[in-house]
């Protein structure tokens, strides 16, 4: 039940960000610093989420089959594969490495 609360709050705040753009005077958000922070934060968060999902295991670091997924996804992206193919490459690499005995 607790998770529902945070989930619905995230939805509410997500919509609030969107609506703010439509309701505030354009000059407020057109500040170049604001849009630069929105941009750098997007990059930083996605990079961080990638690493957390690749090497974090609770509160410790673990080098396991997920590193193979990271490499496979990187290769797929390098060759301009579509998103769905990238995701499948990641899953395939992790599943394959586990089948070969690397956790």
């Amino acid at each position: 039940m607790n998770l529902w609360l945070w989930l619905l709050l995230a939805c509410l705040l997500g919509y609030a960000w969107k609506l703010v753009g439509y309701l505030v005077p354009a000059s407020l958000l057109r500040n170049p610093r604001t849009s630069r922070i929105a941009g750098t934060m997007t990059i930083g968060l996605l990079a961080s989420l990638t690493m957390v999902n690749a090497v974090a295991s609770g509160q410790s670091l673990a080098l396991d089959a997920r590193l193979g997924a990271l490499a496979a996804a990187g290769i797929a992206l390098w060759f301009r594969a579509p998103f769905l193919v990238v995701v499948l490459a990641g899953a395939g690499a992790a599943a394959g490495l586990r089948l070969l005995g690397w956790n």
Partner: protein
């Protein structure tokens, strides 16, 4: 039939299909990260912003708390405020349409709209991509969530690897140039260094703080990292509209978001 002849509608529909299909991965990852079917659906119906949704389930899957998941999702939704401002100036929706437009304001609908030069086409592109993606994204989230809960052990299918790949796939299109790459590397390092010392979910917020500090003090492009996940013209690269458009913006096209995509015809 006339509607289908509009280039913006055709771009919007092709993006809807391409993006809607990601919904399968989101649905499957949602239920395997510990959310139930309806929690996964609520994120797609109410939050409706791919990056924020993946962030929420990514934090939960890593053992993070609900509040950390909410924090990461909310910070990642910040860019939608910038999009909203651009679209408000461009489309000027009135009354209830403003509230509906806000809900379908995401990377892809913004890209489809701002990629057009004619005001009527900008409107058609925005609504086609926004509504089309909303419908398909939710349908495919449901498909993925039902399939995901039927799979059994998610690790056996490499679904944790799929999540890693999904985040890298969302990050990749934004890494244009040296500065975005440097920001990504610094934030990735900050995350890895923080993991052993703070509770799960917090390293992501630390990285967000580092990224915001870089944005505050740096003098890079003001729209850094705001590129969409999908290039609306990827499938129309030999089409005349593309050349027209490219030509247009070299002569001072008003929309700065298209600038980093000037090589988009490759």
């Amino acid at each position: 039939m006339k509607l289908l002849q509009s280039p913006a509608v055709r771009v919007g529909l092709s993006i809807s299909i391409a993006t809607g299909l990601y919904g399968i991965s989101f649905g499957a990852l949602g239920v395997t990260s510990g959310l139930d079917f309806w929690q996964t659906m609520a994120l797609s119906l109410l939050l409706f912003s791919g990056g924020s949704q993946f962030a929420f389930i990514g934090v939960v899957a890593g053992g993070g708390s609900g509040v950390a998941a909410m924090g990461a999702a909310t910070l990642l939704g910040m860019r939608n405020g910038i999009y909203g401002m651009q679209l408000n100036a461009l489309l000027q929706p009135r009354g209830w349409r403003k509230f509906a437009a806000a809900h379908v304001t995401i990377d892809e609908s913004t890209a489809t709209s701002t990629g057009q030069t004619d005001p009527a086409e900008q409107k058609r592109g925005f609504w086609t991509a926004g509504i089309g993606i909303f419908v398909l994204w939710n349908v495919f989230t449901a498909v993925g969530a039902l399939a995901g809960s039927a799979l059994g052990d998610p690790k056996q299918w490499g679904l944790d690897g799929a999540a890693v790949a999904a985040f890298l796939g969302l990050l990749w299109p934004r890494l244009k140039g040296r500065e975005p790459v440097a920001i990504a590397v610094v934030c990735a390092l900050a995350t890895v260094l923080a993991v052993p010392f703070v509770p799960a979910g917090i390293p992501i917020l630390i990285a967000a703080f580092v990224a915001a500090a870089i944005g505050w003090f740096s003098h890079g492009r003001s729209n850094e990292g705001l590129e969409p996940d999908v290039d609306p013209y990827a499938e129309h690269r030999h089409d005349e509209h593309q050349h027209e458009h490219q030509h247009g913006h070299q002569h001072g096209h008003p929309n700065p978001r298209r600038l980093p995509r000037s090589g988009g015809g490759q």
